[in-house]
Amino acid sequence: MFKTFKRLLHFASPFKMRIVWSILWGFMTIASGIGLMATSAWLISKAGLQPSIADLGASVVAVRFFGVFRGVFRYMERLVSHDVTFRMLANIRVWFYTHLEPLAPARLLQLRSGDLFGRIVSDVETLQNLYTRVIAPPIIALAIVILMGIFFAAIDFRVMITGLAFILFGVTILPLMAWWQGRQFGPPLVKTRGELNATLTDSIQGLADALAFGYEDAQYENLARINRQYRTQEDRMARHDSLQVGLGVLLVNLASVAVLWVAIPRVEGILLGMVALTMIAAFEAFTPLALTANHFAENIEAANRLFEIVDIPPAVTHPEKSQETPQKGRLQLNNVRFWYDENARPALDGITLTIEPNEHIAIVGTSGAGKSSLINVLLRFWEYQEGTIQLDGVDLKQLALQEIHHFFAVMSQRTHLFNTSIGDNIRIAKDSATDDEVRYVAQLAQIDDFIQQLPNGYDTFVGELGAKLSGGERQRVALARMLLKDAPFFIFDEATANLDAVTEKMIVNAILDVTQTRTMVFITHRLTLLEKMDRIIVLDEGRIVEIGTHQALINKQGLYAIMAQHSLDVLHLMGAVG
């Protein structure tokens, strides 16, 4: 836990000076509050003795001074502390992203949670409280303790002891109680809240299924049960919270009574008011500490979760810069073996293959045959264990990741579009693309017409906040993107799997039209115009079992012929073929 905290502190270290200033202002704010009460009490007590006005002059000024300057100090403190907080937040995001980036996608797939990213965002936001709620309060409290110690010591030793005793109680015991209570009741409450939220999500997003299966009453009962459970736990938490509050109030006021009691026989009457009132005022610094314990715990948990992700070693290491840049070269795989997990069957089991520039290749096979693994390994998302892969004679492992991604363009089954305009989504491929270039590729991808009839054309936002594109439309945008990238090697990984027949045909035709002079690899389990492919590679259990043209493979009467035959039979029956 403290190790995590040390790491956390690194986020704050670039802002040391600002933090120091902020703490200083915070201290001055509370000290002014104490000063205000001290000087006011002094003023009144002195006035009670009915001296001349002149005697009071200084105290009047002092009172007014504290009255005004407390506000000033508070303003300064707020300004600087928020500034620090936001800067820290920026730092944390950048740091996290920088460390996450090399882990994608391989390592992220291993992490189970569906709402991984939601959690990350909220954890990062929790950390922004690190300064204001965890670091600052104890330091300010300590400074005030010292101030009060000195102040009381100047008045009377026993008074100081009494005061410090109460303060110490407030600074240690109460926060510790809060901490303990947090540990006791926090986790089960969080867990139940998680279940409650899951049940609420189920009730809302699973409503159609629930209604269709007559499950709605049972679901409602389920919810009622968890709701009750949650209430019971909240109730328990509330009881202890109330105890905390009560003790807090007791401590402050009792402290003031106690120091008064101790002071009376030992201290001049004129100082009594000061003693009692400053004691109360000082607690402004200590009461927040009860919450500090809980915020500390929250921060540590959030940090642990983030560090857990960041500490994962990346799946692949690669050099910063390549020695050579591959041109439009040949791809050579030599006896490549790859497994995701040591204990599992190899996903690729001795692949030897050469793809010449401008070849059009299809890779087929059932799921688990190794098609996607091949792509993962080519793109260096995963590291293959044995064999070599060479691009124009250069080993893939010698190339920088940028080079490799520059060389390949990929369209996969589900295209991610960013919450920005369609135009910008396409422009991801080439930042400096002109509007004409964007339109050109969109036309090639047969999506230009569709975009033109949107309310804002290319400036229309997509995603959550904007237009909802159908599967076919998304894939066409993805195609436009690929074309803008203009890479020599195109890979289509189940790119039309989710589309209906008509749309699929349109997209496939669009693709074939524009990829005459590129190397192309189609991965699919539903093929398109296999007859037009230069070669078809049939994978089974990580091995290449057949290679050849469509006709050659049909003649061979092997696995491919069997797979194709089944579909052809169906199509014959439909009267669709021949």
């Binding site: 009915q50 007014r64 500034d83 965002v121 269709a212 499950y215 509330a238 009691w261 008011g273 009267g575």
Partner: protein, 574 residues
């Protein structure tokens, strides 16, 4: 808006009254504490008494201090209770209402947003009831009580207190309104910034493929920095307001102190009274200042509540006459059914008529958006036709008992929902009374048994929201298993095998054929190879039923269907 949330709390009426009473007591105890304190000090300082003489006042003081602690602690508990009860109640009502509104409403609104309202939105009410409301009560009761006591004690102080106090809420409101608008747009900006961060994380692979992932680092830094800049500008306004409030409070105390001091000098006020006023003054302003910080908890809670009540106010469809029992013959007829969804201008279905006879197998084909899923929704009574009728035998579907009707349909949807429960229970959705063996049998039929057994706890593995994620193909097989278990006379398949790869699809098709035997079936299909074996095929185009007939008949006709099949056919399937 506030009023309605208040009204919610009336449900915890007793607790509400109690907290009012306790706040009152708190105010009184504050006054008593100040009274005894000032008395003790006066007696010692000017009255020349000793500790023994004032011991009795110390006991009194002690009693007051203890009571104050008890009152505050207990009050905290009471307001927590209010919050807990209100939240629980609202959750119930919200879900019940959403369930009655049905999938049509839930799908139209972004279901994610609804989930957020039901979870975080309701939790946000916590701050409203635990911080804002008590803060409000205290901010009213304490100053009023103090004023009430100060008035007979000292007019001048009374006037100062009276005049300065309203300044605080006044300033709060003034700057609150100005800052409010800016804060709201800032709040949106913050939402957008988080959304951007999330977007980038989710699209990380895509960014990498386009060599843009590194650039994002700069973008994230820039966006967060910009946000800081604009937020700080907004906050400057907020800070000036708190500066003003702070100044009013502390300067007023200072003014009170000075003016009391002057009058003490002049001898126009007693020391004990002066000290009493000094002790009481900070307590006068404290609740008002505290309200400032709690105010935004109030607005957040109010905003959440607004959304919640929005939903609760949405009128429910009138199902009161849906009481008739089912006819014995389950023939379904669509009579010129037109369906226009609320937010759309185009009709999803336009004058569609067809009959589904018992035992028939009908396929519905057409491009996406042509109306296929709408038919399924209407059949499941998730929506009501805008025009036209749907009849079962001769009875209007809208008049039949909904639950009884849905019992007769087994639905495999395009995106089956996996509940946060075990795989066993997910499959048992079809029939809660099914035995373990029955479930296993069915799972084997749909080729799900193997992947289930490969999971850490087999059938008991928790899946869904807080469990393991199932792939699209796995979820579909679970859905088909549900349909099997349900054993209903009508089967509704919506793209039931779209997520399965060739091998699995072939295997599952065998199971589907068993399922469809001797039942009435409505099959919505993208893949024409599942559709063509149907007794009849309905071809939809932009909401209109354009062709109807057997496969052979439609092929001969040479219309839209034939074109669809030809596209399908020119792509060889392996």
């Amino acid at each position: 808006m506030d009023k309605r949330l208040f009204a919610e709390a009336q449900n915890a009426r007793g607790a509400f009254r109690l907290t009012l009473f306790l706040s009152m007591l708190n105010a009184i105890s504050i006054l008593l504490q100040a009274f005894f304190l000032s008395r003790i000090i006066t007696l010692i300082f000017l009255g020349e008494q000793t500790l023994e003489d004032v011991t009795i006042y110390f006991y009194a003081l002690l009693a007051v201090v203890l009571s104050r602690a008890l009152i505050n602690g207990f009050n905290e508990y009471v307001v927590s209770q209010i919050s807990i009860l209100v939240k629980e109640e609202l959750r119930h009502r919200l879900i019940k209402h959403l369930m009655k509104l049905g999938p049509a409403y839930v799908k139209n609104e972004r279901s994610g947003e609804l989930v957020l309202t039901a979870t975080e939105g309701i939790e946000a009410l916590d701050a409203y009831f635990k911080n804002y409301i008590p803060g409000l009560f205290t901010a009213v009761l304490v100053p009023l009580t103090i004023l009430f006591v100060v008035f007979p004690t000292d007019i001048v102080t009374f006037i100062i207190l009276l005049l300065t106090a309203p300044l605080i809420p006044f300033f709060m409101a003034l700057i609150g309104m100005a800052a409010g608008r800016v804060a709201r747009s800032n709040y949106l900006a913050m939402g957008r910034m988080s959304a951007h961060f999330m977007d980038v994380l989710q699209g990380l692979t895509t960014l990498k493929l386009f060599n843009r992932s590194h650039l994002q680092i700069k973008t994230i830094a820039r966006i967060t920095d910009d946000f800081r800049d604009t937020t700080m500008q907004v906050l400057r306004i907020a800070f000036i307001s708190s500066f003003a409030l702070e100044i009013i409070a502390t300067l007023s105390v200072a003014i009170v102190a000075v003016e009391i001091g002057m009058r003490l000098l002049a001898g126009t006020i007693l020391f004990e009274q002066a000290l009493f006023l000094l002790v009481i003054a900070p307590d006068y302003y404290l609740p008002l200042r505290a309200l400032g910080t709690k105010f935004h908890a109030g607005t957040e809670g109010a905003a959440s509540a607004e959304r919640i009540f929005d939903i609760l106010d949405t009128p429910l469809p009138d199902m009161s006459d849906a009481v008739l029992p089912l006819p014995t013959k389950l023939t379904v007829t669509f009579e010129a059914v037109t369906m226009i969804y609320e937010s759309d201008t185009r009709a999803a279905l336009d004058g569609v008529s067809f009959t589904l006879n018992q035992g028939e197998r009908i396929a519905i084909v057409g491009a996406s958006g042509s109306g296929k899923t709408t038919i399924a929704n209407l059949l499941l009574r998730f929506s009501t036709p805008t025009e036209g009728y749907i009849r079962v035998a001769d009875v209007d579907l809208q008049k039949l008992d909904v639950k009884a009707w849905r019992e007769k349909i087994a639905w495999v949807s395009q995106t089956p929902y996996i509940f946060n429960a075990s795989l066993m229970d997910n499959i048992r959705l079809g029939n809660p009374n099914a035995t373990h063996e029955a479930v296993e049998q069915v799972a084997k039929l749909v080729k799900a048994h193997d992947f289930i057994m490969a999971m850490p706890e087999g059938y008991n593995t928790i899946v869904g929201e807080r469990g393991s994620r199932l792939s699209g193909g796995q979820a579909q097989r679970i859905a088909i298993a549900r349909a099997f278990l349900k054993n209903a006379p009508i089967i509704l398949l919506d793209e039931a095998t779209s997520n399965l790869d060739y091998g699995t699809e072939a295997e599952v098709e065998g199971a589907l054929n068993i399922l469809l035997e001797n039942r009435t079936a409505l099959i919505i299909a993208h893949r024409l190879n599942t559709a063509f074996k149907a007794d009849r095929i309905l071809v939809m185009d932009k909401g209109v039923l354009v062709e109807q007939g057997t496969h052979t008949h439609l092929m001969a006709k040479g219309g839209i269907y034939r074109k669809l099949v030809e596209s399908f056919g020119s792509m060889t399937y392996v």
